[in-house]
Amino acid sequence: MSEIPILSILIFIPVVGIFFMLLIRNNDDQSSQNLKHTALWIAFLNFIISLSLLFSFDLNNPDFQFVEKYAWIESGISYHLGIDGVSILFVILTTMLVPICILASYESIKFSVKEYLISFLALETFMIGVFCSLDLVLFYLFFEGGLIPMFLIIGIWGGERRVYSTFKFFLYTLAGSVFMLLAIIYIFISTGTTDVETLLMYNFTTNEQLILWIAFFTSFMVKIPMWPFHTWLPDAHVEAPTAGSVILAGVLLKMAGYGFIRFSIGFFPDASEFFAPFIFSLSVIAIIVTSLIALVQEDMKKLIAYSSVAHMGFVTLGIFTFTVQGIEGGIIQMISHGIVSAALFLCVGVVYDRLHTREIARYGGLVSKMPFYSFSFMIFILASLGLPGTSGFVGEFLVLLSIFSINTYFAIFATTGVVLAATYSLWLYRRIIFGALIKDDLSEMFDLTRREIIIFLPLIILTISIGLYPKPIINIIEPSTEKIVNQIKMKLD
């Protein structure tokens, strides 16, 4: 198996797909249908290939697998790919969400279909690349490259204030990331390599660590996002087309969480330990403040966007406990949030396609017209608030458990976030689904179409199965997480 460069194949299949799609010249309805089918098949093919990763993945091996390494720019900067237990699930999450996104855009994208699909496939390349790359320059390339297609996706096919939002998104993230670039260059100069595996063994001096940590942190903090640099996220979410929101919440935010695990705590354990209380404070503030903000939102997407910030607060809490439980909890929380928030945005997209508004007050009593929709929406709402038996519970529980063992105060404050999450989620659900169907324009609403059921079904199954039986996932994550934690312990001693 090791001879086949499977990660490169995963990364570059969408690029090949882009070439195919450039060949489709016409611009009528028929050809745009063809384009959508082509893109869907390419994305689906990629998903199938990524599943094969799961089967050939060695669960007992905590090291990087499927490693590929070629000389690239010069000595020290190589084309180095590989995944371990931490990253494999993100790769699969990405390849799973992209076909779903393309399927979800079948009806809602009406113009410039070709550019849209090309942007999406390019984005997939960059996202998979981020999780696979074991070289900092390569990582940065993919990390930043994703901005280009996302800028176009929000800007061209977004809502009314799309220009403002997409500029804010782009410049915020770029401004955050350039300092990481300087840090990467500094690392390259002082150690002579940007190879992640080598650097994980390298010991930076404490002073170096502090400065480099801050540089990496500015980038990830904006991207994940943490309070108070989260303001681009609600704007971007609200204006992005449904599929754009899905991929933004589902994958792009996770890049930063992944970066925290892999780089921040892996390279700079002393600095991470030093800054941990700071991170905890920011996370707890984020959890409480953004939950409260979510309570007063009038716009469905905005509400879910703010809830994303709160959920990512749990992720950072978990990661910086440096315990196996905490990091595992953070990863599972990210995977679960990737599925659930993606699904919630899809839920918003379903009613938005029918009524073309995201204002909560315009809805009400949908349950009588859309029973299937109400059912799936409920599952995701419950998962989002972390009900036991859904995927949301596992991650949050592990994170809270680990933070309790570190610091009780932070844990108490974080727990209030769970209560607040229940409040805004259930209230959102009540206002949209329950009550009497009194508004006239809602009488035309129809239930999920077959295409939409196909979209929701895998997400529902995953949400519940991870919630009921998280063991397989934990089995994948655990060895690598243990290795990371041991390495940190070793370096700290």
Partner: protein, 469 residues
């Protein structure tokens, strides 16, 4: 006599230009003359590649790896602007057979510049280059803007030449030599007069590369000159002046680099920051590209300021990528044609992706590349510059650099925004741009796929700098 062999490429071009000048009088076929010019430039490339490395005329003219690489880059730029000329000469009212000849003369000047190892050779090259450019800028006699650009460029250019000459006289006076190597030998680090000389020469050269605070001519000349000439301004002369700057500073004043380093340091920061802010307010694409080039020169100057081989290498990488990006941009600008009229306002691009999807996609990527977003080529240019800066412990310069690149991302994004997000206007003509495609597609594809295999550019740069350090 032996020395004449070493300037064979320059000599060849000079003869060609003179012959063409005479034939042009009788032969009214501009296209043919242009073709001959392109052909002879290609022949020059071959001559250069086969030249032995040697110094001529009492070591005042050097043929080495550095000059070889820069000359080839300059010739590529000249050829590109001649191709731009063919596609647009009728509509821009510059249907004059002297155009290719002036370009050749200017190119000879630049080739002398990058080979110059003597203050006088340097001045001769610089003036030959500049005088041709003054005429070129004013080539469209019927356009007020073009004449204004020519006059403005001439007056300010003459002033800068004066400053340069003044500086040269100081350097000669205080070191007793005009040869770069001999100046380096006879240098007296304590001498204030020498420093004054360096400052004046640097001011003159900063004018030629359009670095802040000597950049004022750039936007006006860029806007006023016919687009193929603007393209030429952006491509070749800056690269030549940069090469001259490097040889002048490194060969003769390497010993007292502390003194000139801070000057370069300042003009680099000033160029990056001023360009980033000033470009935001522009509405004319050519003016915007003028500020963009000021900013890019600021980045390239970081490479000079480092005074390391790493810095020099990054400078050359940067210049090569800059050349490719600018060829693409100006070929694109010339393709914005509708009903025999050219458009150069940013708002004219509005919604053009509806009618020209492929062309717009490529130019959007070029814009991202100019902004330095990975994985495009522009990113690698900046990456190496920052590597060099951090390696020579100029963290401050690197931080200013990244901040300026974030700010300048804004105006590049604005172009993308207008092309993609705004309401479409009428279609642009597609017929007359066949020869431009020759420039446009290869250069944009090079920029996109650069990241797959960047080693050739890096190797060429490493090859080039071995004769300087």
């Amino acid at each position: 006599m032996q020395s004449l062999v070493y300037i064979l490429p320059e000599l060849f071009l000079f003869i060609v230009a003179t012959v063409l000048l005479v034939t042009g009088l009788f032969l009214k076929n501009i296209k043919l003359i242009n073709l001959l010019a392109i052909f002879s430039l290609l022949v020059t490339v071959i001559l250069i590649l086969n030249q032995p490395f040697q110094s001529a005329f009492l070591n005042s003219f050097i043929v080495d790896e550095f000059s070889l690489v820069l000359k080839v880059i300059i010739l590529i730029g000249s050829i590109a602007s001649l191709i731009m000329f063919v596609s647009s000469k009728d509509d821009l009212n510059i249907n004059i057979y002297e155009f290719p000849i002036l370009i050749i003369f200017s190119t000879i000047g630049m080739m002398v510049m990058v080979s110059a190892n003597d203050l006088l050779a340097m001045f001769i090259g610089l003036e030959l280059q500049s005088l041709s450019l003054y005429v070129l800028a004013a080539l469209n006699r019927n356009s007020l803007l073009s004449s204004e650009a020519g006059i403005k460029y001439f007056i300010l250019g003459a002033l800068s030449s004066g400053l340069l000459l003044f500086g040269i006289s100081y350097i000669y006076g205080f070191s007793g030599n005009t040869n770069f190597n001999l100046i380096a030998v006879n240098i007296n680090p304590e001498s204030l007069g020498l420093i004054i000389g360096i400052v004046f020469v640097l001011a003159g050269l900063a004018f030629k590369v359009s670095a802040v605070p000597f950049h004022m001519w750039t936007p006006d000349v860029y806007q006023g000159a016919p687009t193929p000439i603007t393209g030429f301004f952006a491509l070749a002369p800056k690269i030549a002046a940069m090469g001259l700057l490097v040889r002048f500073l490194f060969n003769s004043f390497g010993e007292i680099y502390i003194d000139w380093q801070q000057i370069i340091f300042f003009i680099s920061i000033a160029s990056m920051m001023l360009a980033a802010f000033a470009a935001i307010a522009q509405t004319n694409l050519k003016r915007l590209m003028a500020y963009s080039s000021i900013g890019h020169i600021g980045y390239a100057l970081i490479g000079v300021a480092c005074f390391t081989d790493e810095g020099l290498r990054s400078l050359l990488i940067y210049l090569m990528i800059y050349l490719i990006m600018n060829i693409a941009v100006f070929a694109f600008l010339l393709s914005l044609k509708r009903n025999d009229g050219y458009f150069e306002n940013i708002s004219d691009l509005s919604g053009m992706h509806k009618n020209h999807p492929l062309r717009t996609m490529l130019i959007a990527l070029i814009m991202f590349s100019l902004a330095g977003i990975p994985p495009l080529a522009g990113f690698f240019g900046k990456f190496y510059i920052f590597v060099a800066a951090i390696e020579s412990e100029m963290l401050f310069l690197a931080i200013i650099g990244v901040v300026a690149s974030v700010i300048s991302a804004f105006y590049y994004l604005r172009i993308v925004k207008i092309m993609y997000f705004d309401e479409p206007k009428e279609e642009f003509d597609g017929s007359s741009i066949k020869s431009l495609n020759l420039l446009y597609y290869p250069s944009s594809i090079l920029i996109i796929i650069f990241f797959i295999y960047p080693s050739p550019v890096i190797n060429i740069s490493e090859y080039a700098i071995q004769s300087i350090i």
